[in-house]
Assembly symmetry: C2
Homo-oligomer: 499 residues x 2
Amino acid sequence: MNAWGMGIASKVTAPPPLTGSGKGKKVAILGAGLAGLSAAYELRKLGYRVQVLEARPYAGGRCQTARRGFRLRELGGEEQLCRFDRGHYINHGPWRIPLDHQSTLHYAREFAVPLEVMVNENDHAWVYLEEGGPLSKRRLRGAQIKADMRGHVAELLAKSVQSRQLDVRLSSEDQMLLLDYLAREGALGVGDLAYKGRSGRGFATNPGAGLVPGAGTPSDPLAFGDLLAARVGKVYSAVQEFPMHATMFQPVGGMDRIPQAFAARLGDTIRYGAEVRRIRQDAAGVTIDLHDTASGQASSVKADYCLCTLPLSVLRMIDTDFSPGFKAALKAVPYAPVGKIGLQMGRRFWEEDDHIYGGHVLTDLKGINTISLPSNGWQQRKGVVLGYYNYALDAIEVSALSTAQRTEFALAAGEKIFPAYRSAYENAFSVAWHRVQYSLGGWAEWNDAARRDAYPLLLEGEGRVQLAGEHLSYLTGWQAGAIESAWQQIERLHRRASA
Amino acid sequence: MNAWGMGIASKVTAPPPLTGSGKGKKVAILGAGLAGLSAAYELRKLGYRVQVLEARPYAGGRCQTARRGFRLRELGGEEQLCRFDRGHYINHGPWRIPLDHQSTLHYAREFAVPLEVMVNENDHAWVYLEEGGPLSKRRLRGAQIKADMRGHVAELLAKSVQSRQLDVRLSSEDQMLLLDYLAREGALGVGDLAYKGRSGRGFATNPGAGLVPGAGTPSDPLAFGDLLAARVGKVYSAVQEFPMHATMFQPVGGMDRIPQAFAARLGDTIRYGAEVRRIRQDAAGVTIDLHDTASGQASSVKADYCLCTLPLSVLRMIDTDFSPGFKAALKAVPYAPVGKIGLQMGRRFWEEDDHIYGGHVLTDLKGINTISLPSNGWQQRKGVVLGYYNYALDAIEVSALSTAQRTEFALAAGEKIFPAYRSAYENAFSVAWHRVQYSLGGWAEWNDAARRDAYPLLLEGEGRVQLAGEHLSYLTGWQAGAIESAWQQIERLHRRASA
C-alpha cells in the first residue's frame, strides 16, 4: 500500500507528480471515458506511447450530452434521435460537478472549459408529497418546510428551556445563549418565544411600491403537527450531505465539453469504433482483440501494458485470461439501474408561473424522485426539464416501457405538480443506463462484502493489466471517481513499468 | 387609494396595463436610473412625448458597474480611474437580483439581457469571528456551523423527548414523529440519539480512489458549548429572510447591462449632462431649469407633467416651488451611508486554495461586514473581490479615508482570513455612496414616523409633479423598488393626465 492508498489521494487536486519516463513503452487504454481520457493524457506526458480503444464513435463514456441529432439505441429497444431545439440539451449521464471534486475541476481549469452554476438546492422549488398525510398533494416551497420546522422546533425547545425543563442538561448560562440562538434561528417572538412565521418562508403578498400593505403580507406557517405527520423529512433535508451543495457546476453547453476537450488534445491517440472482444497477456505483453463496429473487421493491438477502464458490468462479459479469483471479483459488484428523461418544454412555466429558477422539485411520486429544472437559458422561451431520475426497481420498471410510454409516465406525474406541464411539452429523450451497450448500468454499487474482498483485488490488477474507473473509488457514479482512480492507477502502472 | 395601492401592485410581474393615450402630452422625467428609465419606456408606449433629463453622462443612476476606464470622483475626494483588467468589474451599486423581484426580471427578459447565477449563500465560505469567544479568529465553514448547531439542538431535544420531559407539550404520537424528524435533521446516532458529526459539515479527508481511508475521514463537530458561547448567530443564519435566496441573479458582464438596454431603446429621449437646478410649475405646465455639465450653459425644458425620480437626498437640495409641507416631507427621510470596495486579485486564491466558489465570507471584522467572492470567471486566473460592504457609522468612518487608505483597511482585514490576500492584490476601486454627487446615499432609510407621515404625502406628488424611485417603495435599496414605484406612479400620472 502506497502513500496514495493511505488517503493522501483523496486530498489531491492534481495528477500525481510522476518522475521518470515511459519512453519506448506502449500502453493500451480500454475505454475513452473520463478514466481512460485522463490516464491517456497524463501517461502521454510521461512519454508513454498510448492508444485509447473506444467502442463508441465518440469520447466520454457515460459522460454524454443529448442535443439535437444525438442518437441512442438501448439494448433491445428502438433508436432514439434527440429532437431538442438547437441550444438545448440534457446531461443524461453526469450532470453536476461538486466543489469537492477538485480532480474534475482540475481538468475544466486546465482545458479552460467555461463553467456555470448548476443550482442544486432551491428552497423556492416545490416539495410535493403524494403520501404526506395532512399535507398530501399540496405544492409546498422548500423554504416553507425549512422555516416552519425550524421555527416550531426552536419554539418547543425554547419553551422547555424557559420552563426550566432542561436544567439538568444545560448550565443556566448555556440556556441563555441557547435561547438567544433559538430566537434568531427560529424567528421567535420576543417575550412569548412563539413561532408565527417569517418572511423567509415567503409572503402572501410581496412588498412592493404603494401604500397598505406595501410592507408585504405575512403568510401563515404550516402547523407543527401537520409537518410532523407529513414526514417531510422523507424528501426534504436542510443539511445536504457530501458532496452535495446548494450550488454546483456544469460546463456551459453540456457536460460532454470536458471529454471533448480531452479528445481534441488526444487526437488520433483515440481509436473509435474499437470494441474489445478479448484480452490476453503473457510475459511479453498484452494483446487486445478488437471488432471494428463500422467495418465489422477484426484486428489486434499489442501493448506492453493495459489500463482497462471498461465498467465491470462490461468487462466481466469479455473473454479474458484473468485468474478465476480475479474473474470472480469482477462479478462481485452489482451495477445501478438508472433512468433519466429530458422533456423539452415550449415555455418555461416553472420560471414564468412559479418563479422557480433551477433546482429540484422533490416528490415521492413513484418512479420520479425528482423533477429538475434547467440551470441554463434563464428566462429564455424554452427549456429541457429532467422529468425523472430513478434508481433500482423504479428504474427497471420504467425502462421496460417504450420511449413513448416513458414520456407519458413522466407527463402524468409532472402535471400533478405543474398545470402547464403537458401542454408545454414538445419532445423527449430518455435513457435507461442499465440497457445501454458498453455501459450496462449507471455506476458500480458496492456492498460491504465486495468492498472488503473484491475491491482490493481489483485495485491490484493482474499482471500487465490494471483497472481504473469510478468503480475503483469511493466516489462511484461521479466523474471525480473515474479521474482519481485513473490518477491512482497510472501511478501504479508507472511504478510497475519502471521496476 | 387605488387597487395598486391595496397590495395588488406587489404581486404584479409586469407594467400596469394602461389604456388610453398620452398623445400630445409631454412628460419630463428627471433622472435616468431604473425608475426614470422604466417610466420613460412605458410612457412612450402610451404615446407620451417623453424627455429624460440625466445629470450623469450615462444612464443607470446608482446602478453602475466599475470596469476598466470607469471614473468616479466623490464629493471632496480624488478622482478614481478603474484599472481592473478587461473582463473584470465590480457592481458597486446593486449587485444581485432576487427571484422575488419579478419587475427587474421582467425587463431582463424583455430586453434579452443574459443572466447568470449570483451565489448569495455558500456554506463552504468562511465564517470568521474576531469576537467569537472560544471560536474566535478561526476560519469556520458555514456548513460546519449549520450542521453542528442543527445536530446539537436536535440531540438536545431528542433526548428531552426520550426522557419524557416533553410529555406535557406533545402527544406521544407527535413525539415519535419528532424523534424521526430530529434523527434525520440532526444526523443523530441510531439508539443513542447523539450527534457526532456528519459528512455535510465536510470530511477531514475527502473520499477518493484508493484503499483506507478511501471512504473519507469524518471530521469532529464543534462543541455545542463553544458554538453557543461564540454566538455564531450574530453573523450566520440558516434561514435567509425575504428577498434573499441562496442563488440570485446578475446580468452577464455587469449590472449596468440593464440600464444600457433601456438606454439603447430610448436613444436621444435621454438628454445626458443635464443637471436639474430648479423646478417650477403653474396651471400651464412644469418648467425645469438645467445646467449643462459639459458646456456649463443654462437651459430650460417645459413639459405638461414631470416625473421626478431624483433621490430625495438630492431633490431636497434643489430649488422647487413645492408646498412647505411637501418640502418638509422630502426632508423626513435619512439616506443610508454605504461603502463598497472592489479588489482585483491576481490569483483566485479563494477557489484554488480554499475551494470557495462565490458567496460571502461572513465576519464581525469592524467595517467589513462581508467579503464577497465573484460569481463570474470561475476558475480563471484573476477576479475582483468585494472587500467590504459597510453601512451606517462604519461606512462614514471608512469613507473619510483616502482611496489608498481604504484599500489598506480592506487588505489588513482580508489577510486575517486569507493568507494570500495581500500578495494577490493588484488594484482597487471604492465607492462611498453618501459622497457620490447626484446620489448622496445608498438608499432611503425610512423610520416609522416618516413612513406614516411623509411617505403617503410624497406618493401623492404635488400638482403636475409626481415622484418615483426606490425611496417610494417598500423595496428600498433594490432596483425592483425603483421599477415598481415607477410602474405605480406612471399609472397615477396617466390617470391625472387623462382626467
